[in-house]
C-alpha cells in the first residue's frame, strides 16, 4: 500500500482487537452512604410519598436508589447529608429510619442486557454470598447493589472469586 495507507501499526495483515470479554470485568465499592426507609405512610400513599420527596428536595440533597415499598419508600443519600434529610422528614411526622454506613457495589459487565440471564446470575451470586443486599439497580455496563459497608466488601470478594473461578 502507498503512503496513503493506514497510518499506524494496524495496516494490512494485522488484526485489531475489539469487544470486551463477556461477563464481569471489574468490581468496586463506593462507601459513605446512608439508607433511609420511610414507612407506614397510610392513606393516599402516592401523595404522601410526594410530600416526603418534596420536603427532601428543599434541602438540596440528591437521592439515589429510590424504591417504592408497599407502605412508603426507601432511598440512599450521602452519609454527610443524612442529618439534613432527617431534619426535613421529621416535621412531617412520618415513620422513618436512617441506616448509616452503607456502600454501593458496582459490578462492571459491558452490555449486560445482551447476555441474557447475566443480571439474574449476578443477583443469585450476591444472594448466595450471604451478604444482605438492600437494593439493586442496573446500567448498560454495570449492576449496582447497596449493602452495609462490611457486607459490601465481602460481596465484592465473593464476586471476584466467582469471576476468577470462571477464568
Amino acid at each position: 500500500m502507498s503512503a496513503k495507507s493506514p497510518k499506524t501499526a494496524i495496516g494490512w495483515g494485522s488484526e485489531t482487537e475489539f469487544e470486551k470479554r463477556r461477563g464481569v470485568s471489574a468490581v468496586e465499592v463506593r462507601a459513605g452512604f446512608a439508607q433511609v426507609h420511610v414507612s407506614e405512610l397510610g392513606q393516599d400513599i402516592v401523595e404522601q410519598r410526594l410530600r416526603v420527596l418534596e420536603a427532601i428536595s428543599g434541602t438540596g440533597v440528591s437521592l439515589d436508589f429510590l424504591k417504592l415499598t408497599p407502605t412508603g419508600l426507601s432511598f440512599l443519600v450521602r452519609q454527610d447529608d443524612s442529618d439534613k434529610v432527617g431534619a426535613a422528614i421529621t416535621p412531617l411526622g412520618v415513620r422513618h429510619t436512617i441506616k448509616p454506613n452503607r456502600a454501593i457495589v458496582l459490578v462492571h459487565a459491558v452490555n449486560i442486557r445482551d447476555e441474557e440471564g447475566m443480571l439474574a446470575e449476578l443477583v443469585h451470586r450476591a444472594i448466595s454470598s450471604t451478604a444482605k443486599v438492600d437494593h439493586i439497580s442496573d446500567m448498560h455496563d454495570r449492576l449496582l447493589m447497596v449493602a452495609e459497608a462490611g457486607e459490601a466488601e465481602r460481596l465484592k470478594v465473593r464476586i471476584q472469586e466467582a469471576r476468577a473461578d470462571e477464568n
Binding site: 410526594l50 420527596l53 452490555n111 443469585h124 444472594i127
Partner: protein
C-alpha cells in the same frame, strides 16, 4: 486513503428505490474523495420476505416443536445479509462503480464461538484494503463473522453477532480500517429525544455521547446498539446516525470530553414487560435468602432478562420481557421447595389449577406455605436519560410529581448515573413519555 464506513439498515435496502438512494449516498461519498466501505443489513424488517426473522421462520415452521440448532440458525440468518450485500454491490455496478460483496469471514471478521450472539475478537481487513486498492467498493455483510476453532478445519464456522449486529460490524470495520467516520444510515434523522411514535416532532439530537446513546439503547430506544458505541468509543472513531432518505445532518456520537455539561438527553421506553413482586413475608426468616436465591438461579439458568430489580426485607421483584414471561411462569408457578421442616409452594398471580393440585398433593405433609407473586401484566419502563443530571436534588420529586399530575400511577422506580426509570402500565406509557418530554423541556433541544 480516507475510509468512510457506511452502514445501511433494513429499511435503507428494503426496495429498489431505497437501495438506489443508499447507493447514491455511497457514490456521493466516493466523489467527495472518500474510499467508502459499505455494510448492509438484511433486506427489510420483520415480515419482509428476506428479513432475518422470515428466514428463521422457514426452519421453525418445519416443526414448531423442534428447536433448530443454533449453528443452522446462524447459517440461515446470515443468508439475509449475503443476499443484501450481493444486490447492493450489483446496484453500485449499475451506477458505474465496481463493487465486491464480502461475507463477514471474507472481510476478516473473527469471532468467538457463541452461535447467535458471537462477539468480535479481531478483524484483519486485508481483503477490504485490497478491494479498495483495486478500485472497488467493498460491500460487507453485517451481523456475521467466522469462528476459527483451531482444529485445522478450513474456513471456520459462520457465526452471527446477535442484537445490533450490523451496527457492530460497521463500527468494528471502521475501527479496524481507521476510518474517518462511521455512518449508520436508517429511516429517521438521527437520535431523537423520544420515540416519534410517542412524541410527534421529537427533536433530533445533534450531538450525544457514547455513554448516553448506550444508556438510551439499554433502556429501550431503538438507536445505535451499545456494542457499536463501545467499539467506536474505544477506538475513537467518529460515529454518525443519519437518515438515508433526508438531507438532515444527523446525530454525531462523541466522547464525553467532547460534549461535557449537565443536560437531559431524552425519554425512552421499553417494549412490553410483565412485573412480578414476590412476597416472602410468609417465609421464615432463615429461609428467605435461600428462596430468593432459587428465584434468581432459575432466571439465570434459563437466560431470563430482568428489568427493575428490587430487593426488600419483605421480598423481591423484577420485570421480564413479555415473550419470556411464560418461561418464568412455567419455572415458578407451582414450584415446590421443601426446606428444613417447611414446604413452600410458589404461586404467580391468582392460584392456577396446577398450584391447587400441588397444594392438595402436599396436604398429607402439612399445609404448604405459599410464596405469592403479585402479577402485573402489560407494563412498560419509561426512562429519563441525562448527562451529569441524575444527581440533581429534587429530580425524583419532579418526575413523580409530573406523572402524578398526569394521572400516571408508578409501580416502581430504578435509577443509575445516567437514568431514572419508572415502571408504568402500557396504557399509561404514551402519556408518561409525553409528560416527561414536556416537563424537561426536550421539545426545545437542538
Amino acid at each position: 486513503m480516507r475510509i468512510k464506513v457506511m452502514k445501511f439498515g433494513g429499511t435503507s435496502v428494503a426496495t429498489p428505490e431505497a437501495r438506489l438512494q443508499s447507493a447514491m449516498r455511497v457514490v456521493s461519498a466516493k466523489e467527495q474523495g472518500f474510499s467508502p466501505v459499505v455494510v448492509v443489513s438484511a433486506i427489510g424488517r420483520k415480515g419482509a420476505p428476506y428479513a432475518t426473522d422470515t428466514l428463521i421462520q422457514l426452519l421453525r415452521e418445519i416443526d414448531p416443536n423442534v428447536e433448530p440448532d443454533p449453528r443452522e440458525m446462524d447459517l440461515m440468518a446470515a443468508c439475509g445479509e449475503i443476499l443484501s450485500s450481493v444486490i447492493f454491490a450489483h446496484t453500485l455496478k449499475t451506477l458505474g462503480h465496481r463493487a465486491q460483496a464480502y461475507r463477514g469471514g471474507q472481510a476478516g471478521i473473527r469471532t468467538d464461538g457463541v452461535y447467535g450472539n458471537a462477539r468480535i475478537i479481531g478483524i484483519n481487513p486485508i481483503s477490504l484494503f485490497k478491494s479498495i486498492e483495486e478500485g472497488c467498493i467493498p460491500v460487507v455483510c453485517g451481523f456475521q463473522g467466522v469462528h476459527v476453532s483451531g482444529d485445522g478445519a478450513p474456513g471456520g464456522e459462520l457465526t452471527t453477532l446477535g442484537r445490533g449486529g450490523s451496527d457492530t460490524t460497521g463500527a468494528a470495520i471502521g475501527a479496524a480500517m481507521q476510518a474517518e467516520a462511521v455512518e449508520i444510515f436508517t429511516d429517521v434523522d438521527g437520535v431523537k429525544t423520544a420515540d416519534p411514535d410517542y412524541v410527534k416532532d421529537a427533536p433530533t439530537l445533534r450531538t450525544v455521547t457514547y455513554d448516553e446513546v448506550a444508556e438510551l439503547a439499554h433502556l429501550g430506544a431503538k438507536v445505535v446498539h451499545p456494542r457499536a458505541a463501545e467499539i467506536a468509543m474505544h477506538h475513537d472513531i467518529p460515529l454518525w446516525v443519519k437518515n438515508t432518505f433526508s438531507d438532515d445532518p444527523g446525530t454525531e456520537i462523541v466522547r464525553r470530553e467532547r460534549f461535557p455539561g449537565r443536560r437531559v438527553t431524552g425519554v425512552s421506553h421499553t417494549g412490553k414487560l410483565v412485573y412480578l413482586q414476590f412476597d416472602l413475608s410468609s417465609a421464615s426468616e432463615a429461609h428467605r435468602t435461600a428462596l430468593e436465591g432459587r428465584i434468581y438461579e432459575m432466571a439465570s439458568g434459563h437466560a431470563v432478562n430482568l428489568y427493575m430489580l428490587n430487593l426488600s426485607p419483605s421480598g423481591t421483584g423484577f420485570a421480564v420481557p413479555r415473550p419470556q414471561y411464560p418461561i418464568v411462569r412455567d419455572l415458578l408457578d407451582g414450584l415446590v421447595i421443601p426446606m428444613e421442616g417447611e414446604v413452600y409452594i410458589f404461586q404467580i398471580g391468582p392460584a392456577s389449577k396446577e398450584v391447587e393440585m400441588q397444594a392438595r398433593l402436599l396436604e398429607p405433609l402439612g399445609e404448604p406455605i405459599r410464596i405469592k407473586a403479585a402479577l402485573t401484566e402489560g407494563c412498560t419502563m419509561v426512562s429519563l436519560i441525562g448527562h451529569e443530571y441524575m444527581q440533581q436534588a429534587g429530580l425524583f420529586y419532579g418526575v413523580l410529581r409530573t406523572l402524578a399530575d398526569h394521572q400516571v400511577p408508578v409501580l416502581q422506580t430504578s435509577d443509575s448515573d445516567f437514568s431514572l426509570s419508572v415502571l408504568v402500565t402500557e396504557a399509561d406509557a404514551h402519556r408518561a413519555v409525553r409528560a416527561l418530554h414536556e416537563r424537561f423541556g426536550l421539545a426545545e433541544v437542538v
